[in-house]
Every structure is written in C-alpha cells, then in structure tokens.
C-alpha cells in the first residue's frame, strides 16, 4: 500500500511538472497567435481586444493554474483556427488513437511472447537462428515504412482494404477495426521483433541460474521448469520494456496515422503544429503525456504484483 502511495505521489508530481513544461513551452513560441488570426492589417485596437478576450494579458502563473484546472475539468479552450471548442474536436479522435494503440499492443504481446519462448526453447535449431535473422531485420524497419509496404501489398495489389478509406467507428465498428488492423500491424511488427529478442535472451539467462538446476534435479520436465519457474522471472525485464513500448506506441501512432490517413490525435497534432493552433496542440500533447505517465504508473504497480521482492 505504501508502495502504491509513493508511486501515486510520483505520478502526480510528474503530471504537474509535465503540464507546466507543456504550458511554458507553448508560451515561448515565437509568433503571435493574435496576429495570426487577424492578419497583419488588423488595427491595434482590434489586436488589444482579442488579446483581452483570449486572456493573453494576464500573468503566466495565473494562466497556468487556470489552464490546468480547466484542462482536468475537460475545458481545453477554443481552437484558434476553427473557433470550435478543443474538447469537441478531440472527443471523436481520442477513441481512434487509443483503439489503434491497444490493438498494436495486443498484437505485440500475442506475437512476441509465444515466439520468444519458442525461440529460447529451440535455441540450437536452425529455424531459431533463421528467426533471429528475420527479427534483426524487422527491428530495423521503421513502422511508417512497414505501413507503406503493407499498403502496397494488401491495399494496392491484393486489395484487401482500400488505402485512405477510413471507416469511422460511428458508421461501422467492424469496418473500423478491420481498417485499423493494418496500421496496427505496422506499429506492432518492429516492436514485436524487439520483444522476441529480449524475451529470448531473458529466458536463456534465467535458465543458467541455480534454481533451474535444482528444479530439474527434482525431476521436473523442461516444460514444467520453463512455465512454472523460469517464465515468471524472465518476464520482469520484458514488462519494463513493454511499458516503455506502449508509451512509445502512443507517440509512434502519430506517424502511422499519417501513412494510413487515419483521423486520430496524431494527424490533428501535426496539423495544429503547422497552423500554430496552440490550444489544440497543447491539449493533445498534455493528453498524450498524461496517458504515458499513467502507463508508467501501471507498469510500476504490475511489477509489484509479479515480483513482491520489489519494495522501493
């Protein structure tokens, strides 16, 4: 309990620091949103009015506190470009990005855990070595290039899906998931390859320890030793890695969304950065940051469940 409390406190402090940094970062940007909105020919009076209206005249700390308060109550301001509330703009995008990330993560786990254990078990066989080579190559291909290869093969040649024809979940859930499966594979493949490699080496390393020899000497079969003893211990470094990977995939989906023209958070973020639509960019970055911090927190908790020896 004390452990959870400590981690919770760390998480809250991190959220505070990160939101502060995001807020500050968007204050030092050169280029004035007001002149962006009104154009260069605006009168000084007009500019002053709009600054007042947007609350750009008040001191920074006040604006930060107000922003954080509003942010956590779901009020993220208005988009400079569209004049819509940021919340309404993001509401329909968040489920898309989260679904994509979760799907990719499930794929990583489904591919890498069985394959990693299989490779460790058959370490000396030629096919295990062949998988090693394929792994090393897969790891080196960036997700957006995997996405393009998939688009070409499955979209343009085999025509299993229509590239760019994104189906919204409001129209058809099946169509939505069906479209997302290809980008999910693109995000998952390189990450899965890394996980396989890590899991394999982790299992092999654990296998050399004394307790494994003891377990064997007590008459356990290879499978029993592997699944009852080694697996759980070998999983610890893998969980750390999967936590980092999940956080990375949230950000990585930004690029892959671009490849498959998925109208998620990533695409909106890129657009808002290039049009200097700060309230939108700021909100998206803060949201992704909070998701990442929360994932890190969950990983810490999960550790404790798997390995009770961890107390600090």
């Amino acid at each position: 309990m004390k452990y959870i409390g400590k981690k919770l406190a760390t998480m809250l402090i991190t959220v505070l620091i990160v939101t502060m940094l995001v807020f500050l970062a968007f204050r030092v940007i050169p280029g004035d949103p007001v002149s962006n909105m009104l154009g260069t020919s605006a009168t000084e009076e007009k500019v002053a009015n709009l600054r007042e209206q947007l609350g750009l005249n008040r001191p920074l700390p006040v604006r930060y506190i107000e922003w954080v308060r509003d942010f956590f109550f779901g009020d993220m301001g208005k988009s400079y470009t569209y004049g819509m509330s940021v919340k309404s703009m993001l509401a329909s995008k968040i489920p898309i990005t989260i679904t994509l990330t979760v799907m990719s993560f499930i794929l990583v786990v489904l591919i890498s855990i069985p394959l990693g254990i299989y490779c460790a078990k058959h370490e000396d066989k030629w096919y295990s070595k062949a998988i090693d080579v394929i792994n090393q190559i897969t790891m080196s291909v960036p997700s957006f290039f995997v996405g393009m290869i998939i688009t070409y093969i499955f979209g343009l040649v085999l025509r299993w899906f229509r590239p760019g024809a994104f189906v919204n979940y409001k129209t058809s859930v099946v169509g939505f998931l069906g479209y997302l499966i290809f980008p999910a594979i693109s995000i998952a493949l390189p990450k899965a390859a890394m996980t396989v490699k890590l899991l394999k080496s982790s299992v092999l390393k654990e296998g050399k320890l004394d307790y494994v020899r003891t377990a064997y000497s007590r008459g356990n079969s290879t499978d029993q030793v592997l699944y009852k003893h080694v697996f759980k211990n070998a999983l610890i470094p893998v969980i750390t890695f999967l936590g980092v990977t999940l956080a990375d995939m949230v950000a990585g989906s930004i690029i892959v969304e671009q490849v498959f023209s998925i109208p998620g958070l990533g695409r909106l973020l890129i657009t808002s950065i290039s049009t200097r639509d700060y309230p939108v960019a700021q909100a998206i970055i803060a949201i992704i940051a909070c998701i990442v911090i929360f994932i890190n927190f969950m990983v810490d908790i999960l550790y404790k469940v798997i390995d009770p020896r961890i107390s600090k």
Partner: protein, 266 residues
C-alpha cells in the same frame, strides 16, 4: 583477437555502416545529377543506365536524391549524437564522480525525460523552434543528453573506486585529471556502443519527423521526406518508396548491429 573473430555482428554492422558512410560522404561532394534538377521528359522514368534507380514525379534522379538525402540524414544524426555525447558525458562524469544532491536532482529530471516518448518531445521542440535541418539537430541533440548522461554516469560510478583511480588519487592527481585523463578512456567501449545506438535512434527520429513534414525542409532532401513523397506515388512507382525505405532500414540495421557487436566485445 579471438573475441573479434566470433563477433559476426560487429563485422556485418561495421560493413553496412561503412558502406552507408561512404555513400553519404559521396553524397556531400558528388551526385550523378543535381538532386533537385527536374527533367519533365523523365517523369517516373524507369531504371536505366542513365538513371540507375529511375526518376521521381518531377523527373529527378532518384539515386542522386538518395545520396543527398543520406548525407543530410547522416549529418543530422552526427550533430545530434555529438551534442548528446558531449553534454551527456560532461553531466554523467560530474554526477557519477561526485554524487550527492546535484546527482539526485539531475537523475530524477533524467528519469522524467527518459520516461517520455522522444518523438513527442521532439514535436514540442519543433513547434517552439520551427522546422529545419538545424533546429531538428539541436532538438534531437538536447533530447539525447539524458540517455547518454545516464549511461556515462553509470560508468563513472563504476570506475571511481577502482584501484587505478585510487592510486592516481594517492599520487595527487586532481579530480578533473582523474575524471578526464584516467577514467574517460576506460569508458570508451561503452561510449562507442552507446554512440552507435544513438545514431540508430537519431536516424529513426529524423526520418520520422521529416516524413511528417516537420523535420528537414526543402530544398534540403532527406530520406524521410522522400519517403513521404514516394507514398503519394506508391501505386505508380513503388520502386521509389522501396529504395528510400530500404536505405533508412539499412542505416538502422547497420548501427544496431554495430552497437550490439561493440557491446558483446566490451
């Protein structure tokens, strides 16, 4: 020497990286055609003796563009790694060697930054500083400092109580001398493998950002940017995407294997 013989990864990695470096160097001084020269008669021109990789949508020679893009990507990665390793080593040396409160504070900040997807941070930097080759290098360089600092700190922490440091201290060597004359050379193995993996990450980050259009800006060509152009013409000319994507993948593969090889060798 025996270790080197069994270390295939090091050899293959060094081989791939060497070829890529050579191509990138070539790209800075010579390309068969001007990478930005358009030839409307050669639009989507196929592979020929004149254009060994064909031409793109504007009739530009793809091979020349790959060479130029490779050298841009490499120079960004080089700058990034240099910034990262220089400041990272400095911070790591002082925090690892002296320890204490500054160490605690810096390492906590480090943890917070490291827990964060670097792409996201890079996006924040770029939205502040604006895109472009120079800004991308600075942004990525700053982002790489914490990672390098953590590894170098570990090395200095490990070395600071070893016998040779103790005897140097007994001989009256100053802290600075011990840190940079005695300990630093002994961290070289680890530093090299970290640099290799740093290149790997830098190439990936630069390519990703340029792919999104917020990295290197035209007229500078970059592999990431070319890949995003190639995507538009994926159906008409898949070769363009394949050549560009493979170049990025080979770069990353080379650096990854080199890093693993060096680590194994250490």
């Amino acid at each position: 020497m025996q270790k080197f013989k069994s270390n295939q990864k090091l050899y293959i990695g060094a081989f791939i990286t060497g070829i890529m470096l050579l191509l990138a160097l070539t790209g800075t001084v010579f390309t068969p055609y001007d990478p930005n020269a358009m030839d409307t008669t050669a639009k989507f021109g196929s592979i020929s003796l004149k254009h060994i990789m064909g031409c793109d949508n504007f009739g530009r020679d793809i091979f020349s563009r790959v060479l130029a893009g490779l050298s841009t990507t490499m120079s960004v990665a080089m700058g990034t790694v240099l910034i990262g390793i220089f400041f990272g080593t400095l911070i790591g040396a002082f925090t690892g060697y002296f320890g204490g409160m500054p160490d605690e504070i810096l390492m906590r900040i480090n943890d917070a930054v490291l827990a964060f997807p670097s792409l996201l941070l890079a996006l924040v930097f770029i939205s502040i500083m604006g895109p472009g080759k120079f800004n991308v290098t600075i942004a990525l360089g700053i982002l790489f400092i914490p990672g390098f600092a953590r590894i170098m700190r570990g090395e200095f922490l490990r070395c600071k109580n070893l016998d040779y440091v103790q005897s140097a201290r007994l001989m009256g060597a100053s802290d600075l001398r011990i840190m940079f004359v005695h300990i630093l050379p002994n961290t070289l193995q680890v530093m090299l493998s970290t640099v290799a993996i740093g290149f790997n990450n830098a190439v990936l980050a630069e390519a990703g950002m340029s792919f999104l259009g917020i990295g290197v800006q035209p007229p500078d060509s970059s592999l990431g940017r070319m890949l995003s152009e190639a995507q538009t013409y994926l159906f008409i000319k898949p070769g363009y995407a394949i050549v560009t994507g493979m170049t990025i993948a080979l770069l990353i593969l080379g650096f990854a294997m080199l890093s693993e090889g060096l680590e194994k060798n250490a």
